[in-house]
């Protein structure tokens, strides 16, 4: 009769952008939080400092973010390539800094459609970037590959564009991107390729009204499935995909919780699952576009 559903601990999501200045930092205390890769390796450790927060990426770099998130400095202590530092800044540090500034920012990709922006949220490996690249290749410009930044408007929320590049594993890259695509310099910590936007993979550099948010399933569904999420489900999913640096900052956490509670009042949140098969991407895109435009969709869904 009763269902009491504990949800996984709030997870810190490292986010992203460009280094302003380089200064030397000293880290002495224990981290208050760490974000680990699936194999248990520490990806980033979070420290508090007098001036704000310090993030250390083991054997790569240290970043410092001011308390209000308005400035970022980097100590390139391990002398890694500037392109790697810039990538970490854009994709890992900036979203966390924006979160400190009171922005709503999530681990998600987004593309432009005639009906408005549609976003794809999900844990790593669920296909956010692949979907964004697939849509962009077919004419729906991408707004972000990760770091979905929302801005409240009179009628709802706008999606703000982020960096004009998409990171893809080799299989997705070979399936979706033309061979002459421009690649950013390789990163030292991942074999993922970063493809810069071009004529074939167009970037939308203007904000667009948020139309739909699709939370990506694990691919176990034998066919395309779109189901409306309850507001409570959407709220908890948004919490787990938020870029929040300091979960012990109660005032920020409380503010964020209230903002998300207002956001999920919109009937725009859906669970999307589909077989992971590149050959079926055209049909998937058409189904999503039809769904976002409220056109009749031939699948088992609840609008």
């Amino acid at each position: 009769m009763l269902s009491f559903v504990p949800v996984l601990n709030w997870s810190l999501r490292p986010a992203a952008s460009v280094v302003n200045t380089f200064t030397k930092m000293t880290l002495s205390s224990e981290p208050f939080h760490q974000w680990c890769l699936p194999d248990g390796t520490v990806w980033v450790s979070f420290f508090r400092s007098v001036a704000g927060y310090a993030l250390t990426f083991p054997n790569i770099a240290h970043f410092h973010i001011s308390k209000d998130g308005s400035s970022v400095t980097c100590d390139n202590a391990f002398d890694v390539a500037t392109s790697t530092i810039e990538h970490l800044y854009l994709n890992q540090v900036v979203p966390l800094a924006l979160g400190l500034q009171g922005k709503l920012i999530f681990h998600a990709s987004a593309v432009e459609t005639l009906a408005g922006a549609i976003a794809f949220m999900g844990v790593s490996g669920r296909g956010k970037s692949t979907l964004a690249a697939s849509f962009a290749k077919s004419g729906n410009r991408f707004l972000t590959d990760d770091g979905l930044l929302l801005e409240k408007t009179i009628n709802g929320y706008n999606v703000l564009p982020s960096h004009p590049s998409i990171r893809l594993w080799n299989d997705s890259r070979e399936a979706l991107v033309h061979k002459t695509a421009t690649l950013a310099p390789p990163l030292q910590f991942t074999p993922k390729a970063r493809i810069l936007s071009d004529f074939a993979l167009q970037f939308c550099d203007e904000s667009r009204p948020l139309r739909r948010v699709y939370f990506l399933g694990d691919g176990s569904s034998p066919e395309i499935s779109i189901k409306r999420m309850k507001a409570s489900e959407a709220l908890m999913a948004l919490l787990s995909h938020s870029f929040l640096l300091d979960i012990e900052a109660h005032d920020v956490l409380a503010w964020h919780f209230d903002e998300l509670t207002r956001l999920v009042e919109l009937p725009i949140f859906f669970h999307l699952d589909y077989p992971r098969n590149y050959a079926e991407l055209p049909q998937l895109r058409e189904t999503i576009l039809a769904h976002a435009a409220n056109r009749k969709v031939d699948l088992n869904e609840s609008l």
Binding site: L2, F4, V5, W10, S232, L235, I247, D258
Partner: protein, 91 residues
């Protein structure tokens, strides 16, 4: 769990009703929980009533089940909330 006990919500716990369900956020740990419709109703009654006995009385009026089952479910939920420090016993 004693049905005569009165419970309250600690200051570090935030609760929001969304639709017919409830989401609870524990600011101290950053952990969040969902309560389904029935759990949300019990939670609301706990806030309004003097004791768990009164919560069970109200539930008897609203649900077609036995008193024994309601008391068991209310106690199970409240104990789970207590264990996670999402409610506390009022002295």
């Amino acid at each position: 769990m004693n049905l005569c006990e009165k419970l309250s919500i600690p200051s570090q716990v935030m609760v929001r009703e969304v639709g017919d369900e409830t989401v609870i956020l524990d600011l101290a740990s950053g952990t969040y929980y969902g309560l389904n419709t029935v759990g949300a109703r019990i939670w609301k009654l706990v806030l309004e009533r003097q004791s768990l006995i009164e919560v069970c009385d109200a539930m008897m009026d609203e649900y077609e089940t036995t008193r024994e089952e309601i008391e068991r479910d209310v106690c199970t939920l409240m104990q789970a909330l207590l264990d996670r420090k999402l409610v506390s016993v009022t002295a």
